[in-house]
Amino acid sequence: MQALVIVGHGSHLNPGSSEPAYAHADTIRESGAFDEVREAFWKEEPSFRNVLRTLESEEVYVVPLFISEGYFTEQVIPRELRLDDWDPEDWDSDGTDADHVTLDAGDVEKTVHYCGPVGTHDSMSDVIIQRAKSVTGRETFGDAPETGDSEARRTAPDGGFGLAVVGHGTERNENSAKAIHYHADRIREMGVFDEVQAVFMDEDPEVDDVTDFFESEDIVVVPLFVADGFHTQEDIPEDMGLTDDYRTGYDVPSEVDGHRIWYSGAVGTEPLVADVVLERAADAGAPVGDAVEAVRERTGGADAAAGD
């Protein structure tokens, strides 16, 4: 038997924090790729400490539903799961290319395949694009041909579409910014948008000034956060000037400084994230059969992923 464990942060205060983990777990359950699928949390139950013992499977794939590599993925999760032989060097990552490592856990007779976080997997770029499509209701952005002629894109008659990928910033972890830049760079190279810019909550370039960084009339703003909460629902909309008071809500799109801002909310709630979770496990050797295709089909990611 094999199990998938999605490990998330969770919250003692915000009941919505665990919802993306539950939703993506359900999508993967539906695919039938694993005998058991379980969610575990730092702040909710089952805890990282107790989750492995709730499983009957001998092979366990653990995928962190976290955005960046760092404190949680390198210290907290392996420690709490009792992956005693874990060494962050095993991922051989410079901050955005963690893969997986196979370890024993100290409290159970199981083989644990500990995977890198969803946030730094290449497929997360597809999810960001998918998120932009969901919030705008568009299949393409701008009239420019997607052949890479940047001059043609800049002069697109409709004013163009830009993408801002928002990250928390360096407050706790330098890799946090790396993950944002990584996906912004990848998406820029794909040529899907006229402009792509990484912005942050607590470092330059700041999300407060998002309209300063774009010539495009339309700007899709996608926060690279796992769950909606204080930052994505209160701080960022107010910082960007979508609203003076988050409680009164805001329009999508909202007009700010002559730009239309399409604010998407946390990328982690996009159904296609289930595909990234599954791919993390598949990369670690989980025999998932045709589940990846099935999950992409189900979550609207078939087209996005086909572009890889």
Partner: protein
């Protein structure tokens, strides 16, 4: 595979389970139960497939399986273990046999084929009629008078959302807090779905209970758990002995959490706080306790000071009433006009109007040194 086929299939290797023995005997088989013994040919063995001993064996060995798992141990426990003989157990199960798990009541019922079906609900809702959820969402039902019925569910995954908030709609960050909401029942579950449902309502309780029964519960005492913390929680190791007692009294007693605390300060020193009477153990301080301990740790860094202010005896008691009401979670129960309760809102507002100003209680600043220049003419 039918019970009869399974019985014939297993007979050559022999069966020895819950009082049933089947084994090869000369050219036939010996079929023995505490009530009966017979030598039977293969075809005659089939005729015993409706024996309670045979259906019981089939259920546990062909449907539940999972020897050594917590799931199997829990399902066995629900039937009262192996103390009762199979016929007696079946008599009990036919009418529905209920055991309690935290605030849950889990009922096992034997169906006509000897299979077990399980139901789980809040123990306070035992005896309430179950309403199919499809009915409950129909317009006809919405117009019906509100009843005490409970809504029926069959998908264990729905438990996650159902128990996320208490009856007053407040988020429950601790699954084993005694605030399980009412009004639902998971019905017609098989064993796996029952265990999964319980797992979603009280995560990991079955696994740790099983470990405890097997004698290998791995308890992490406070010093281990605190010593492991990093980041913003690294400070909790500073929490002193008295404060740890107070913290456990605040967070871990039965009125706050239904797990039975098995951890102490360390392996040598027990805490004085009662462990609780819960069926399932608490094997280490949980994340909520650690987060609270972090706050207690920083609060405990402050030294006590002497403050001088005046209260009437009734006001002193009222302050105590207010602390008690908050600590016991009773503020919602105190009626609007019940001015005989110290923690009544009007009483509290009267006290505030009389005894508090911008300096707080009785006009005494919290940090008098910050107000040394204020002088006597301060209003």
């Amino acid at each position: 595979m039918s019970v009869a086929d399974a019985l014939v299939d297993a007979a050559d290797d022999g069966v020895d389970f819950d009082g049933l023995t089947v084994e090869p005997y000369r050219d036939a088989y010996r079929f023995a139960t505490p009530d009966d013994e017979a030598i039977l040919a293969g075809e005659e063995l089939r005729e015993r497939a409706d024996s309670p001993y045979a259906t019981n064996w089939y259920y546990w060995e062909h449907e539940v399986e999972g020897h050594g798992t917590a799931r199997r141990a829990f399902l066995r426990w629900l039937e009262g273990g192996s103390d009762l003989g199979v016929p007696e157990r079946y008599d009990a199960l036919r009418d529905g046999h209920t055991r309690h798990w935290g605030e849950l009541a889990v009922t096992v019922v034997l169906d006509a084929e000897g299979r077990r079906r399980y139901e789980v609900r809040h123990e306070d809702d035992l005896g309430e009629d179950v309403r199919k959820t499809t009915e409950s969402s129909s317009a006809a039902h919405q117009n019906a008078e509100r009843s005490e019925d409970v809504d029926a569910y069959t998908d264990p995954l729905e438990a996650r959302e159902l128990v996320k908030h208490d009856d007053d709609g407040r988020y429950r960050p601790l699954s084993t807090a005694p605030s399980l909401p009412h009004g639902w029942a998971f019905v017609d579950l098989d064993g796996s779905d029952l265990v999964e449902t319980v797992e979603y309502i009280y995560p990991a309780t079955v696994a740790n209970w099983h470990r405890e029964r097997e004698g290998d519960l791995d308890v992490d005492h406070w010093e281990d758990a605190a010593g492991r913390q990093t980041g913003i929680y690294g400070v909790v190791s500073e929490l002193d002995d008295d404060a740890l007692e107070w913290a456990a009294e605040a967070c871990c007693v039965d009125s706050q959490c239904l797990k039975r605390r098995e951890w102490d300060r360390n392996g040598e020193e027990d805490l004085d706080v009662p462990r609780g009477d819960g069926e399932f153990p608490c094997r280490e301080p949980c994340s909520l306790f650690v987060a609270a301990a972090r706050k207690f740790t920083t609060l405990e860094r402050e030294e006590s000071r002497e403050y001088t202010f005046e209260l009437t005896p009734a006001e002193k008691e009222q302050v105590e009433d207010i602390v008690d009401a908050v600590a016991d979670g009773r503020t919602d129960e105190i009626r609007e006009a019940d001015v005989y309760e110290g923690a009544n809102r009007y009483r509290a507002r009267f006290l505030r109007a009389k005894r508090m100003d911008e300096h707080g209680l009785s006009g005494t600043p919290t940090y008098p040194e910050d107000h040394e220049d204020d002088g006597d003419d301060d209003h």
